[in-house]
Subunit: 386 residues, 2 copies
C-alpha cells in the first residue's frame, strides 16, 4: 500500500446558500481545491453526501457533479455514511490512490439542507437512525442525543452548565474562520439561558445545519504533483469502524466503541499515541458527542471530558486544542459534508495557514467524524512530518 | 496493487419480498456469501443501494446491515451510483483489498422497491437523471430511454419487432435461474402485442423492478482463504467512467461513451480484446440499452446490435451469450443491487455452476452495469484462468 498525501483544499462558506444549486456548491469547492493543487482535472471523484435524495431529489451525484467541474468521463462515485459521509469519501479516495488504481483523486462532499422545511429536514436526518426500531417509535435525532446526555449527566454527576465551554470555545474559534456560519462569541450566561430543544439539549449545545461543500486532492506521496506550491500533508492514519445503529442495542450507550476502535487503528498506523496529537477536529454535533469522542479517543478519562472544557484544556493554547476553526458548533454542520471540512481544517493547521487560530508547532492533527448516534465513525491522522 | 479474487457468492430471489425487511434481504445474501466462502465475518462491508433513503426511510446502511449479520465493529460504507450502485460497491471492495488496507471484504447490494406506490417509485428512479434539467421538465426514466430508442430506430432504420430477441433470449434463460423473477418464455407475437409504456418502449422491452439482495466475498489472490471449496475467480479488469448526467448534453445520445471508456480500460487491464470475452452480462434495463451496450463495448458495429439478436448470436450457444441467467429483463432489476447479481452470474458461469444455462469452456466473463441513462458505467472482467 503506497502512502498518500493531500495537496489541495477548497471549501465554500457554510450558510443558507439559496443562490447556489447542489452542483454549484460542490463545483465551487472542487474547482478551488484543484486550483490550490495546480491541477485542472482528476482521475476519480469520491463524493460524500447524506441527503440529496430526500432534500434535492438528486442521486447519481457522480456524473451530476463531475461533468459540472469539467471532468466528464472520470470515474465518480457517491459515498454515504450519514454524518460521516465526508470522511468516508476521503477514506475512499485514500484507498483508491493507495491501491495504485488511481493517481489523482478528488474527495469532495456537499450538502444542501436549507431549501427544505425544518420538519422535513428533521425527518431526513432521522434516516441516520434505525428506521424500524428507533424512528418508528417517534424519536428524532436530537432526541436520541438527549437521551444519551441525560444518562451521562446522571451517571457522572454533571450539570448542564458544565458543558458550556465546549460551545464557548467553538464560537470563539469560529470568529476567525471566514467560512464559518457563526462569527459571534457566546458566554456562559448565553449558554445557561439558551432555550431547550430536547431536554437537556439546548440551542447552544447543538450545531446548526447549513449548506456547504468541501474538497481535497489526494495523490501518491511519491509523485510529480508534489512539486506544487504547498508543503504536502501526509495521511498517517485512516480507519473506520461501526457500532449498532440503534443506541438501545449497545451494552454501554455512553461509550463510543466505534470511536475507540477507529482511533486505536489510526494511532497504530501512524505509530503514535494520543499524547502525540497536537489538535483534534472532533465531531461536536452536540456537546455530549464532543465529550464522548474525547473519552473514547483516550484524551479524557471515562465520564470526565467536561473537566477538559471547564479547565480550558481545549483552547487554542491548551493541552489539546479542539474545533480550531469553529467545529460543527460554530463553523456549521452541513451533515454529509462536515467530515471534509474537518480534514481541510487539519490541513490548514499543518500548513500553518490557520491565521489567528494557528496552533503552534503542530505536527499531528486528528479528525474524527461521527455518523448516526455513534454507529459509523471514521478517524484520520494527518502529519506534516517527513 | 495486489490482485484480488472472489471466493463467495450469495443472492436472494428477486420478487415482491414483502415479508422481508431491507436488512433481512441484505443479511440473507451476505450470510449466504460468507457461508459459501467458509467464513463467518469480514473486515469491511461495501454496500450498494440506490433508493433506501426515499423508499425505506433508511440511510447509514453500513451499521444498519453490518450489525445485523453479526459483524458489529467492522468498517461499513454505503455506495451509490444509481442503477450501477451494485457494481460500484464491488469495485470499492476490489480497490480496498487491492490497496492492502482490507483483507476480507464483502461487497453487497440491496434494493427494496415494491413497498412503495408505483408513482413514487417512478419519482425515486428519476433521481438518477438530472433533477434540474431533465426531471423538472416532466420526463421519467423510461421516457428518457424512449427518446433514445426513438432516435436510434430513426437513424438506423430498425422497426420495433427487430428488438424482440433481446427479450425472448432473456426470458428463455431466466427459466432455469431459480432466483429469477420470471420463469415464463415469451414469443415474438407476445413482444409485438405488448402494451406501450412510453412509445416505442413496450412492457416487454422493459425490465421489471423488484426486491432483492446479492453479495460476494473479495480477498487477495495470494491468500490463505483460497484453500476453500471453490476454484477462485480472479478480477482481471475493473473500470468505471462517467458521462453527462443529462442525455441532451451529449454530442451523440446514441453512443454510450462511458461504456466504451470503461470497457476499453477493463480489456487493457485483462490484456484481452472483445473477441476473448466468452459471455456478457449486460445491462438490459431496456432493449435499447442492450443494443447500445453491445455496440460501445465492441461486440457490434454502430447501429447494428439488433442484428446480433435477430441472428441469435446472443443465445447460450451463440457467438456472445448474454443475460445468461435471465438478465435484467427476466432475472429482474432491483436497481441498486443489479450490478452484484451480474457479478454473481459471471462467477457461476466461470465456476461451471450455471446448470442448464452453462456456457461451455468459458474463460472470460464480462459484466457491465449502467447507472442513469448511461451516465455512470462500470465494467468488470472476471476469469478462471490462472
Amino acid at each position: 500500500m503506497r502512502k498518500v498525501a493531500v495537496i489541495g483544499i477548497g471549501q465554500t462558506k457554510i450558510a443558507e446558500n439559496w443562490d447556489k444549486s447542489l452542483r454549484e456548491l460542490a463545483g465551487d469547492a472542487i474547482l478551488a481545491a484543484l486550483q490550490d493543487a495546480n491541477l485542472s482535472t482528476a482521475d476519480a471523484f469520491f463524493l460524500g453526501n447524506m441527503m440529496s435524495s430526500a432534500a434535492n431529489n438528486q442521486q447519481n451525484l457522480g456524473p451530476y457533479i463531475t461533468d459540472w467541474v469539467g471532468s466528464r468521463g472520470a470515474e465518480s462515485i457517491h459515498i454515504e455514511s450519514a454524518c460521516s459521509s465526508g470522511s468516508a469519501a476521503f477514506r475512499a479516495a485514500v484507498m483508491a490512490v493507495a491501491s495504485g488504481e488511481i493517481n489523482i483523486a478528488v474527495a469532495a462532499a456537499v450538502e444542501k439542507m436549507t431549501d427544505s422545511p425544518v420538519a422535513e429536514t428533521t425527518a431526513f436526518l432521522a434516516t441516520a437512525a434505525d428506521a424500524d426500531w428507533e424512528v418508528d417509535q417517534g424519536v428524532s435525532f436530537v432526541g436520541l442525543n438527549a437521551l444519551i446526555m441525560q444518562r451521562y449527566m446522571h451517571e457522572y454527576g454533571w450539570e448542564h452548565p458544565h458543558f458550556a465551554n465546549f460551545s464557548i470555545n467553538a464560537h470563539k474559534n469560529g470568529i476567525n474562520n471566514p467560512q464559518a456560519m457563526f462569527h459571534m462569541p457566546i458566554t456562559q450566561e448565553n449558554f445557561d439561558r439558551s432555550p431547550i430543544i430536547c431536554d437537556p439539549i439546548t440551542l447552544l449545545d447543538a450545531s446548526p445545519i447549513g449548506d456547504g461543500a468541501a474538497a481535497v486532492i489526494v495523490v501518491p506521496l511519491q509523485d510529480m504533483f508534489l512539486s506544487g506550491q504547498h508543503s504536502h500533508i501526509i495521511v498517517a492514519g485512516s480507519a473506520a469502524a461501526s457500532d449498532t445503529i440503534a443506541v438501545h442495542s449497545r451494552k454501554d450507550p455512553l461509550w463510543l466503541s466505534a470511536a475507540e476502535l477507529s482511533a486505536k487503528q489510526a494511532y497504530a498506523q501512524a505509530g503514535i499515541s494520543p499524547g502525540d496529537i497536537n489538535f483534534f477536529e472532533y465531531h461536536d454535533a452536540f456537546t455530549i458527542m464532543a465529550s464522548l469522542s474525547l473519552e473514547a479517543c483516550g484524551f479524557a478519562e471515562r465520564g470526565q471530558a467536561p473537566r477538559m472544557a471547564i479547565e480550558n484544556e481545549i483552547s487554542l493554547k491548551g493541552r489539546l486544542p479542539v474545533a480550531t476553526m469553529g467545529g460543527l458548533k460554530a463553523r456549521g454542520h452541513p451533515v454529509g459534508a462536515t467530515g471534509l471540512f474537518q480534514i481541510i481544517e487539519v490541513v490548514q493547521q499543518l500548513r500553518r495557514q490557520a491565521g489567528a487560530n494557528q496552533v503552534s508547532d503542530a505536527k499531528y492533527g486528528m479528525a474524527q467524524n461521527i455518523g448516526g448516534s455513534g454507529s459509523n465513525i471514521i478517524t484520520h491522522i494527518l502529519t506534516n512530518a517527513a
